[in-house]
């Protein structure tokens, strides 16, 4: 059943491979500088490496937008995105998997009654606009530099041809890596929260985390897409759409790869934090739109505003609106059908309960309101409804409402020191952190903040550092550790695993 659910994600991966590999190797293959077989092999290998090694960053951002917490829901969301992509491709619109999946996730958020993280959504949408502009700027600058360099270096046409081929292969490999790292989130991101895979030790050499196994599968699906269908797309891209010289093509691919990379690389983010520079959000972006930006950049560098094809720009602009909207609508209605017609669980319902503990916590945080006291004992099954209810009925400030929603969220967890021993790897968690968790063996928590508060009391290593630029990396890492703790000790997850193991056991005895 797990495999069936993953199918929609794999389908999405296949279509991504079929369409977007052409953005990396299209011109190289289209202009016959690189053979398709070579291009397909390099693209496949590096897409998979990029997805497995560096896919987590952008996937994390998508997860923040909507943590699709049931496999049935993830299946439907990915399917809605895949259908949108196929449909819009047929209509001839420059469609982006990224925009489709974001729309589909927002559709799920609305259906599941989960609050939409507007901050993350704004971050994602703004990168859609920034991405082609940034690629354009990069290709403009690289073009000017290359031109100056070639004028100065006076390289023989045959040697230049050789270097360009090598460049197309090397930069193509980098592009494929960046594509895998950045876009695997589109394919498999929605399955991360409901990930059925456990960590896997590969012959004692290294450990693949559950998410990485998921990304590996997605990467393989992309590779299949590249091998089975991308040739036609590459031919079209290379010979019809962007008639570029091989060197210009190389520059466009380099600019595009850099942009995909900087929107995906966690190591770059860490480096920027260490240097005290502003970071770039890790967000899946559209490689097709990056390419368009890159081509325009070259055109502008060659001179003249004639380079800007307003027709294509208008299409892209409409893509920004139409793609997520269509995917969102399809996602919402498919989820409705999945739940009510096929009787599949598409989300784990969220529960908010205003208890004495919650009220005390809120008071300690400075949120005190007689209206909240009147809600004592009330249960809400929908974050969004609770938010609107509080907005309507109380005079709480929006930041206070956010706190009420956060602290009243019921997310039961039970600490098991045996699980802690297996799951908390000493190469990530400190000894003090693991010890503190183990000491809580058998304790049950109703809210995330309760567990966090307790851990912070038990060990200073679980405490966040003051909000300063130099502490950002540390705090981000600590937040990720908290997420891991919440995930592994969540009661609903433990119950599901027990059911699963019971199921296999009964099968075994039958």
């Amino acid at each position: 059943m797990v495999w069936f659910y993953l199918l929609s994600g794999l389908f999405l991966g296949w279509s991504l491979g079929a369409n977007d590999a052409a953005n990396v190797f299209g011109t190289a293959v289209g202009t016959r500088m690189v053979k398709f077989k070579v291009a397909a092999f390099i693209a496949s290998v590096f897409v998979i490496i990029g997805a497995v090694v560096s896919g987590a960053g952008a996937a994390h951002t998508l997860g923040k937008l909507g943590a699709v917490n049931a496999l049935g829901g993830a299946f439907t969301v990915a399917l809605a995105a895949a259908v949108t992509v196929s449909w819009m491709t047929k209509l001839g619109l420059p469609v982006s998997t990224t925009q489709a999946i974001v729309g589909a996730i927002v559709g799920w958020d609305i259906f599941a009654g989960v609050l939409i993280d507007t901050k993350t959504l704004t971050k994602i949408v703004s990168t859609w606009v920034i991405c082609p502009i940034l690629t354009g700027a990069f290709s403009f600058v690289i073009f000017k530099l290359t031109k100056a360099l070639l004028k100065f270096a006076k390289i023989h046409i045959l040697e230049l041809d050789l270097y360009t081929r090598c460049g197309l292969l090397v930069i193509g490999a980098f592009g494929a890596y960046s594509l895998g790292a950045n876009n695997i989130a589109n394919v498999m991101g929605v399955f991360v929260t409901a990930n059925p895979f456990k960590d896997l030790n590969v012959f004692g050499l290294f450990t693949l985390r559950g998410t990485q196994i998921l990304f590996l599968l997605g990467g393989i699906a992309i590779a299949v897409g590249i091998y089975t269908y991308s040739y036609r797309v590459m031919k079209t891209v290379g010979s019809d759409i962007f008639k570029l010289s091989p060197i210009a093509a190389l520059i466009v691919v380099l600019a595009e790869s850099l942009v995909l990379f900087i929107f995906a690389s966690e190591s770059l983010e860490r480096l920027l934090i260490r240097l005290g520079l502003p970071t770039i959000p890790l967000v899946p972006v559209s490689s097709s739109q990056a390419v368009v930006g890159g081509v325009i950049g070259i055109g502008l560098a060659r001179g003249g505003g004639r380079a800007i094809n307003f027709g294509i720009l208008t299409k892209i602009f409409w893509g920004w609106i139409l793609t997520p909207l269509t995917a969102g609508i399809i996602s919402f209605f498919s989820l409705f059908f999945m739940q009510n017609v096929f009787q599949q669980k598409v989300y784990e319902p969220v529960t908010h309960q205003i208890t004495d503990t919650v009220l005390q916590k809120l008071e300690a945080e400075g949120v005190k309101n007689p209206f909240l006291d009147s809600l004592r004992g009330r249960i809400f099954h929908n974050s969004r409804k609770l938010k609107y209810y509080l907005k309507l009925k109380s005079n709480l400030h929006w930041s206070e409402i956010d706190k009420v929603i956060e602290y009243s969220l019921v997310d039961s967890m039970m600490i098991d020191s045996n699980v802690a021993k297996v799951e908390l790897k000493p190469n990530w968690f400190t000894e003090g952190q693991i010890e503190a968790v183990k000491r809580l063996h058998g304790t049950v928590f109703a809210h995330r903040w309760q567990l966090a508060d307790t851990l912070q009391k038990l060990s200073p290593e679980w405490r966040f550092k003051p909000k300063k630029r130099e502490n950002r990396a540390y705090n981000k890492d600590l937040a990720a550790k908290y997420q891991k703790i919440f995930h592994i000790f969540r009661l609903s997850r433990i119950r599901k695993e027990e059911e699963f193991e019971g199921g296999t056991h009964s099968k075994g005895t039958a």
């Binding site: 202009t31 016959r32 500088m33 073009f143 290359t146 031109k147 070639l150 004028k151 006076k154 390289i155 023989h156 046409i157 045959l158 040697e159 041809d161 050789l162 090598c166 010289s245 091989p246 060197i247 210009a248």
Partner: protein, 215 residues
């Protein structure tokens, strides 16, 4: 990678050799005609033979280069242009070789009063060829220099037109000469003009190809 680079360098060397051959043949032609006009038939025939040999060598080199370009799928974008350049450059050499053979066969009788002018015509036509070879070489290595050479090619071609016309006018203004003699000499003037014309044709091509080669 290194073996590929070595192979590429070898091919570059072959292209250079091809262009050197054209240049050498052109200079040899000039020397040959000089000996012919000076009446040194033996030396002329030696040079004519050498030009013929060079023409054969250039043909062979051109075929080798073309084969390698196609069989190794090199320069997919510019291959057509490169082939056109090589073949047209070879055509110049063919005209040069044919002309010197015609001299050897037909032995035109030059009038002493036009010998100097005829030699000037040979000089400017061959200079056009030399500049054309340099333009083609620049196309491969340094496209910024193409323009300078093309300007010179065009200049020498025009010069050859002017000098050629002057000689022809002079020939046909002479009442004492037989028409057959006039026409015979006119043919040889035209041959030399044709060499410069072809060089200019190639110059035009190089200009376009160089624009296409701009990044």
């Amino acid at each position: 990678m290194f073996s590929v680079l070595k192979k590429t360098k070898a091919l570059e060397g072959r292209i250079d050799e091809f262009l050197d051959t054209i240049m050498e043949a052109a200079l040899e032609f000039k020397q040959g005609i000089k000996y012919y006009l000076d009446g040194d038939v033996e030396e002329f025939e030696k040079r004519a033979k050498h030009v013929d040999q060079l023409e054969g060598r250039a043909d062979r080199l051109r075929r080798e280069i073309e084969n390698q370009l196609y069989s190794e799928m090199l320069l997919p974008e510019a291959r057509g242009d490169v082939l056109a350049l090589l073949e047209n450059s070879d055509d110049v050499l063919n005209i040069i070789a044919d002309t010197i053979v015609e001299f050897s066969i037909e032995q035109p009788e030059f009038l002493p009063e036009i010998t100097d002018q005829f030699m000037t015509l040979v000089d400017v036509s061959i200079e056009a060829v030399e500049e054309m070879v340099m333009a083609v070489r620049s196309y491969f290595k340094d496209i910024t220099a193409v323009r300078d050479h093309i300007t010179k090619v065009m200049f020498f071609e025009k010069e050859s037109d002017k000098v050629g016309e002057k000689i022809k006018r002079y020939l046909f203004s002479r009442k004492d000469l037989r028409l057959s003699h006039k026409m015979h000499l006119r043919t040889f003037v035209s041959y030399l003009q044709a060499i410069a014309d072809k060089a200019e044709d190639i110059g035009d091509r190089v200009t376009i190809y160089a624009i296409k080669r701009m990044v």
